[in-house]
Amino acid sequence: MGKNLFNKVWEKHTVDVLPGGQTQLFIGMHLIHEVTSPQAFAMLKDLGVKVAFPERTFATVDHIIPTDDTSRPFADPLAEEMMQAIEKNTAENGITFFNPESKKQGVVHIVGPEQGLTQPGSTIACGDSHTATHGAFGAIAFGIGTSQVRDVLATQTMSIAPFKVRRIEVNGKLKPGVYAKDVILYIISKLGVNGGIGHAYEFAGDVIDTMSMEGRMTVCNMAIEGGARVGYINPDETTFAYIKGKPYAPKENWDEMVEYWKSIASDADADYDDIVKFDAADIEPQVTWGINPEQTIGISEKITNPKNDVMQEALDYTSFSGGDLMKGKKVDVVFIGSCTNGRIEDFREAAKYAKGRKVAEGVRALAVPGSFGVRDKAVAEGLDKIFIEAGFEWREPGCSMCLAMNPDKLVGREISASTSNRNFKGRQGSSTGRTLLVSPVMAVAAAVTGQISDCREVFNIGGK
């Protein structure tokens, strides 16, 4: 029986088994941002411990950064303080900081891949729950708490127990107008928000094999929303082609690295704890109706009558009802961005349909590139103009309206069609605001019609 990628990478990175039974796991690449790292640096200072491998940690700033006026000092003094802390901590410890001046800044999970730092066979940790995004490259990547950020800084290792591995295959061919975001929302709606607890998800099958790296990142990004701390995809030619030529990608040893990367992919006869299969033909554009990402339906489906307290609580919060279609629900805000759907491909695809159309009256629409890299490409291709002409606000890179730690927020009971990954109560900054998670093209459809709409009908995709 062969081995899967997870087991291969885990073994290679195991330093020891600790007295408590946990694995001491080596972390090949560590990413930090301003929210969960400053306390860890303070702890190290208290302990008098130095950063063990500063060349293996990379920093960016994303959560608190304003996306309109980024001049310093920031308007919010707390945001300014956090910015100064990461500047100081990275400078003092010899850690590379992708700050806005470097033109490499952006959401941490977009920056790593864009710089070529995210590579197959790596272990990657970051004090952020969406770290599984990097698993799209065949890395074992997961979010950690602040004390563990400290541990990784101090030792480049951490104490952790291994995961079970579930292979999730999506076979067949996606229908036109159906995207990576719909695939992962569909999977979570079927397996549940707790379905992946204790597991790493290996995504595979025809749909994943033919998906772009951007799409694969969207899928892995939301593994955690299904309860799986790790989500990954075996590296292949698509992966290698994406990495090649990136700033930190291997150069003179390229062939040797590719050889190695191929060797860590799951063997054809690999062992899994379980295997789940889905048929691409069953997936249509998805939209969430509740307060967790499992509460998702296809655009032609109706919300089922509440079967439990969690569903009832969700409907009480959103003021939708069992039996409702989501199609036709009015939206106040549209947000295209975040580490789920803030990449160049997302903006290209969204721009294709925003072009020549207008955001509906009364709708506030934001297009926020996930990084400088994404922004610069989009501007070079003229995408920014398309969005602006359509009536979108085109912003500077950051987490923006994905969460409420910067000035971009919902107000009161507003409903937002958002390409981000969480629809928790209050997630977008208003304790009563509502978030409907959708793909970027579904977001454009909502923007131009002012309501949740089937993007295939609005844009005549696939002759529908």
Binding site: Q39, A52, A154, T155, M257
Partner: protein, 201 residues
Amino acid sequence: MALGKIEKVIGQAVPIPGDDIDTDRIIPARFLKCVTFDALGEQLFYDVRFDEDGKSLNFPIDQPQYKGANIIVSGNNFGCGSSREHAPQSIKKAGFDAVIAGSYAEIFFGNCTTLGIVCAEASDEVRASLMKAIAENPSEKMEIDVASSKVLFNGNSYDVSIKPNSKSAFLAGNYDSLADLLARMSKVKELEAGLKYSFKS
């Protein structure tokens, strides 16, 4: 870095009655925008300690007789809510070394153990008589003996329980994995040298 063994917690206690004291109560969400956990001590229980104008509501930890207490005695399901490490950090930074409650939320309990905060469980009766005895003798010192899981107060002994894993970690002084990790740095360096990574700009 040597972690001390935790065999006893000795100090004044403060009763904080009520069940389901959640992490938002312990540290309100708006205080998450911070660069160190240092200020979290002052922000502990902020919204129940102060009114909107910042006037003290005379919450137990602010009452003069309980100033300097390092042990909290509270209700059931203490620390429920979010997984944020800010909550146990705020308890620790405010100077507390132990909590005696009916039960704890799981993630909160794990975070506390890592930080060396002793979380002991006690029955409703034990907590009720402890709270009464503390109110009558607020300046009296309490002693929590970890190995025997007994609380000594004002000449009486009370039975509490401490989960076996955390108890052995406290007694061995390895409740925080960092010491174990640091102890293996030579192995770490050896492993690192043999790994295949290539990221250079």
